[in-house]
Amino acid sequence: MEEKDLVRSSKEGDEEAFASLVKKYRVKVFNLAFSLTRDRDTADDLAQEVFIKAYFALPRFELRSEFGTWLYRITINHVRDFLRKTSRMKRLSLDEIKESSIPQEDETMKREKEKTEEQRKKIVHRAIQILPDKHQVILTLRDIQGLSYEEITKILRISPGTVDSRLHRARKLLRKKLAPFLSQKGGNHELQEG
């Protein structure tokens, strides 16, 4: 059955059709929620809530846009609401990362490299989470989820020009946040503890 048929059947209350849509989109919805929250349990709960919301909003969905685009929009709004309510991520600062990022002297080179990689990821993601909402979302959609400009314009309902300028601003802000961690080391740039 094609996606549009599955959506039509789901609109009429067919749970089996909706189960097929869930199967198709659960990983994408989960990944997007995870990118914004960085917590597996929270992302899983949010993904479940997104599908419940979508199921009951389906009678109002008029098939003018793609189901996936519509679902992404619901996910972003739902996760944003969650983050606003909890403000959990915003309270964390980059200093916490600094504290935990001092490598142990007796670690092997390989392990140290892995740890550095892991640490770099943590720092970059934490820096994203302290950015304003709209910059956090656009970086997540473009640079983590890898969505195209066209998809982003549809999901966020903004013009391509706005996507371009917002993304540029978001990346600049991110680099600024990471400035204390960016230092030159033997010709290569690394994110290091301060």
Binding site: V22, R120, I144, Y149
Partner: protein
């Protein structure tokens, strides 16, 4: 070309959105400007880190955990309750309305008659029918004794007040 514009080009290059002439300009500037080269390397490091993201798997039995929640919510969702009962009630209500309207139309008295009987008194109706309203009274005076005439006049006047007529 200034460094601010080059920063813009560096970022657009990561999305593969540079024209050939812009690419040439950027390369030329980067050769001469160590500061912009540093900027480019820093952006590369940040974006590579973001793009190499490893996502964990969603927890197992996603649908199996979701389905009972949907069933539970359905009980309380107003739209679903409306969909279940309200949609069925629409044709039934329409049938009842049609039946009642048909009954009223078929069994109600003709509209004109009702209006005439309400608008005019008995005497008025008799005048409209080109009859004398004193016809009965005259007939009473012409027949019977004096006592009978008086009694009949009393009953006639009483019946006239009640709005009913009686044939003698």
């Amino acid at each position: 070309m200034n460094c601010k514009k080059v920063e813009k080009l560096i970022l657009r290059a990561f999305d593969g959105r540079l024209h050939e002439d812009e690419k040439r300009e950027q390369e030329q500037h980067l050769k001469q400007c160590p500061q912009c080269r540093t900027t480019q390397e820093e952006y590369k490091l940040i974006l590579d880190t973001l793009r190499k993201e490893d996502f964990p798997e969603p927890k197992p039995y996603f649908w199996e955990r979701l389905q009972p929640k949907l069933t539970e919510r359905k009980k309380y969702e107003p739209w679903m309750v409306w969909k279940q009962w309200g949609m069925r009630a629409i044709p039934v209500s329409l049938l009842i309305i049609i039946f009642l309207s048909a009954t009223l139309l078929l069994f109600s008295p003709p509209r004109e008659e009702v209006e005439l009987s309400q608008a005019f008194s008995q005497s008025g109706l008799l005048l409209l029918q080109n009859q004398s309203p004193l016809q009965e009274t005259t007939a009473l005076f012409e027949t019977g004794g004096t006592e009978d005439k008086n009694m009949m006049l009393i009953f006639t006047s009483l019946e006239d007040k009640n709005g009913t007529r009686r044939d003698f």
